[in-house]
Every structure is written in C-alpha cells, then in structure tokens.
C-alpha cells in the first residue's frame, strides 16, 4: 500500500505520440507503437497515458488498433490503474474516438492538446449525474475522499460513495486504497502531473531528489485539503521517510546560520514559497 504522502500525489502523466506526423495508415507500425507504450507488468500507481495525435491524421483502422486495446485495458484494469487521453484538434478524429468510446463503452478522454488536459472531455457513455460527479471531483482539485465529496455536494456518505464508485467502475476515475481512517482517495485523471519531472535548472530545488520534491508538493497540497490530524501524520511521515536527505540538508543550513549568510537564508525561505502558494490556490494541477 502506498504511504500516506505517496497516496496524496496526483496521477502520473506520460505523454506519448507516434514517431511520424502527417497521415498515419500503417496498422502494423501503430500496433508496435502501442505495444511499446505500456510494460507487460502494467502500472502500480494511478497513471494517465496521453496519446498525442496533434499534427497526425490517423485512418479509422489505425485509431481502432491504437485506442481500443488501451481503453479496454483501462476499463478492465488489466494494466493497473491506467487512464487514456487522446489529444487531437481534428474534428474527424474526435468523432471517431467518441464513436468508439460510446459503442464499446470505453473510458476515453479527449483533449485538444496535452497542455489542455484539465479541460479534457469524457468521451464515453456517462449519465448527466456521472458527468456532474466528474465535474465536482475536478472542482475539488482532481482528488477527494468520500467524506470531502459528500461535504461538497451535501450528499449522504452512502450516496457519495455510490456516485464515485459508478464513475470508478466505468474507468473515468482512479482510486488509491488507504486505511479506513484516512479514507480511499478518488482521483480525476485530468489532474495528472508529469511523471518525468521537468525540474527547472534555474529553480532553487533543482538539486533536491525528485521523491523529496514530490512529497514537499504533496505536503503543500495537503495543507489546503486535509484536516489537521492527517496533516500531522503526513509531517511525521515526511520527517521519518526523508531522514537521510534532511540530515544532509541540516548540515548545509547549519553552515548558512554559522556564517550568517543572509542571502543564502533568504534563498532557503523563497525556495518552496511559490509552489506552496500555487498549491494552496489550486493552480498547480497541470
């Protein structure tokens, strides 16, 4: 089971596109591309696979070969907690993808581009209530427990559970199992974050290990969403899990304090401030 901080991370986002642009009509080639997308072992944590077809014009056969098996696996969970998003600005491609989703009852999201994942359309057969459920989850930052969902919608806990489980069963929502006290977490795939962290070499946290950076981000988001007792547990977990990193960091900070390096101290103060402000304001979901 994921640690509490890990479970608080949003789905991992992978963006992949066929090598060539322009017309795509080679079914064998596209099958090879598709087979390379997901390892046979699948994924173990909520993952969103964006198939970027921008600038590409696939034939109907290619679309079926590319999208159908992935979406079927997403619905059945055979690759683990995987969601599929197709990015295209071509009306014809969107129409075919919608038809596939509705005819075969597949969980597929459609977006204009990977940058517009947050506005992706759920292309499958969803009732108005199910669409509203997705919309509420989206408004909650793409992540909610049953209790948070019930609070927001004014529903009883059982009704909130039914609403979320319905969209989960259809494959449009992902779930992180957590102990009963914390409550399972339901995730909107449209809130996924890049798995390959594009750390900015000019930012202060470039040298910080990705795992620590992710947990600092998760902690900042929990400061907005989680009640105090759970947040306190997350702090305990952070201080325990990252002891080695914190020990090394401690020595660097001690040097700054001993040398009264006010510029270095100011940099420490600023390091996570912007990210934290964005997390608090719910802007950091892309």
């Amino acid at each position: 089971m994921a640690t509490f901080l890990e479970s608080h991370r949003l789905p991992r986002l992978f963006v992949r596109g066929p090598d060539t642009t322009g017309p795509l009509d080679d079914v064998v080639q596209i099958r090879r591309f598709r087979e390379d997308l997901v390892k046979p072992s699948g994924v173990t944590e909520p993952t969103v696979l964006v198939i970027n077809l921008e600038g590409r014009f696939p034939s109907a056969s290619v679309l079926v070969e590319l999208i159908m098996p992935l979406a079927q696996a997403a619905r059945a969970g055979t690759h683990g907690p995987l969601a599929v998003v197709v990015c295209t600005q071509e009306d014809a491609v969107r129409t075919v993808v919608r038809a596939l989703a509705q005819t075969h009852d597949l969980p597929i999201f459609l977006a204009d581009s990977p940058a517009e994942l947050g506005e992706a359309e759920a292309a499958g057969t969803l009732t108005p209530t199910e669409r509203e459920t997705l919309e509420v989850l989206h408004r909650l930052g793409g992540r909610a427990t049953i209790s948070a969902f019930a609070d927001t919608t004014g529903l009883e806990s059982n009704a909130a559970t039914n609403r979320l489980v319905n969209v989960l069963n259809k494959g449009f929502v992902q779930r992180v199992e957590r102990p009963r006290r914390q409550g399972h977490l339901y995730l909107d795939p449209r809130a996924a974050r890049p798995a390959e962290d594009p750390a900015d070499p000019t930012s202060g946290d470039y040298a910080v290990p990705e795992r620590v950076r992710s947990d600092v981000g998760a902690l900042a988001e929990m400061q907005v969403r989680e009640p105090g007792p759970l947040l306190a547990n997350a702090w305990h977990e952070f201080l325990t899990e990252h002891g080695d990193y914190l020990a090394a960091e401690h020595e660097k900070l001690a040097e700054l304090v001993k040398h009264q390096d006010s510029q270095g101290l100011a940099e420490v103060g600023r390091r996570y401030a912007k990210k934290q402000a964005r997390a608090r304001r719910g802007k950091d979901h892309q």
Binding site: G228, A232, W235, G243, R270, R271, Y272, A273, K274
Partner: protein, 244 residues
C-alpha cells in the same frame, strides 16, 4: 507574538500577529509605484502608507466601512489628512490587512476616491489577486528565514529561564512553542509547531537556529509536549532534543 512591529520586504509585521501589505493593483494604479518596492520605501514615498502603518498596526480594521456595506468581506476606510483616503480589508485566513485602494477625496469631482473605490469593488478588482498571495508566501518564507536566526535563540533563552513552562513566540508569522525540561545535568528541549502552513525547509531551519551544532538525527519525534497533548486540528507536531 512577534517581538516587535517591524517592516520586512513588502510587509509591515505587527506585534499583534498580523501583517500589513499593499495589493499589486493599488501599488501600480493608485500609487504609481513598483511591485518590488519594500514597505519601508513605500512609507517613505507615500503619506497614505504611513497612515496605513499607523492606523492598522494596532487594529486590523477601521471604524467606518465603505458604504454601502454588505458582502462577506468588509472594506474599512483609512484617512490621512483632509484629502487622502484608502480602503483596507483584513484577510483573517492569511492574517493580512491589505490596502486595497487609495486616492484623493475631492467631493463632487470626477477623480474623487470614493466612486473609484466603489467601481473597483463592483468589478471585484479591489481584492488581492493570486500574484499578491504568491508574493506574500515568498516574503513570508524569507521573513521566517531572516527572523528565525535571531529570534529562535531568544525564545530558547526565555524557555531556559523558565523550565517546564511553555513559551510561545510568533516567528515571521508562525507560532513556535518551546518547553525546556531540566533533568539533573541534562536539558531536554521540546519544539512544537503547527504544520498547517510551514514549509519543511523552514521547520528545519528552526531546528538549526536553536542548536546549530547538533545533527538532524539528534532530534526525536514526540507524541506530546511535557504538559499537554498536541493540538491535532492545528496539525501540531513536536520534536525534542537532549542537550547536556
């Protein structure tokens, strides 16, 4: 409470536990000043900022509200001399009094401040924006880092002078509680903070500022303070260190 009223970066940090700040819109459009200007620089350049500091450091709101009253957020009037007026809003969550708008009061004139204030409120442009909050967080981080180096040792000294007594000091905008317990020749220090807002790096800086020569591994997580349970709704957590 912070040790004393003091300007820091773009804030004026008040000993009552709140800060004074000017919104970016008010700075650029009403005062024609730069968003990077420090509070001190602004106070030197603008009389209304000096009035803001004088009137709102000891009270988070004025007596008179901008009429017509209503809505969840109350704007109160700030006066300086006969003709300068401002409106402020106390953001209780962030503990900031924002100077949201200011201008000259010339009754009946087209550039009178009051119609300007009301128009800004009507268009919702009067309130602080995301950029204002990002700047606030950045300044608070720097503020904590700047203050903790001097204030944490002072806090520790006060706690040592009163063993077994919880001493609380607001450093930057974060309340820090310390209890020192003396057992024969050993001294055990408990530090408790709220995890609601603090950034891990800054919490670590607090530990370093208290005991610069000790290692992170020397600190131990505690489930409670010596004389009380931790405040769980505030996500309070506590570490201790033995010093001999």
């Amino acid at each position: 409470m912070p040790a004393k009223d003091q300007p820091h970066l773009r804030s004026f940090v008040c000993s009552l536990g709140h800060e004074l700040r000017v919104t970016g819109r008010c700075l650029s459009e009403d005062l024609g000043d730069s968003s990077g200007a420090s509070f001190d620089e602004l106070a030197n350049r603008h009389r209304i900022i000096r009035a803001f500091r004088r009137e709102r450091s000891s009270a988070t709101a004025g007596v008179d509200t901008l009429s017509p009253a209503g809505g969840e957020r109350t704007l109160t009037l700030l006066r300086h001399s006969n003709d300068w007026r401002g409106v402020t809003w106390f953001d209780q969550d962030a503990r900031v009094v924002w100077l949201c708008a200011c201008g000259r009061h010339r009754s009946g004139q087209p550039d009178d401040a009051f119609p300007h204030f009301r128009a800004l409120r009507l268009s919702s442009e009067i309130w602080p924006r995301d950029d204002d909050y990002e700047a606030l967080e950045a300044d608070r981080g720097e503020q904590f880092a700047a203050f903790v180096v001097t204030e944490a040792p002072q806090l520790l000294a006060r706690a040592r002078a009163a063993p077994d007594t919880e001493i609380v000091l607001v450093i930057g905008s974060e309340p820090v509680a310390i209890v020192v317990r003396v057992i024969e020749t050993l001294e055990e220090t408990f530090v408790a903070v709220s995890g609601l807002r603090l950034v891990p790096q800054l919490f670590q800086l607090l530990l370093v500022a208290l005991y610069p020569d000790r290692r992170f591994e020397d600190w131990r997580l505690e489930q409670r303070l010596p004389a009380r349970e931790l405040n769980r709704p505030l996500a309070e957590f506590c570490l201790s260190i033995v010093h001999g």
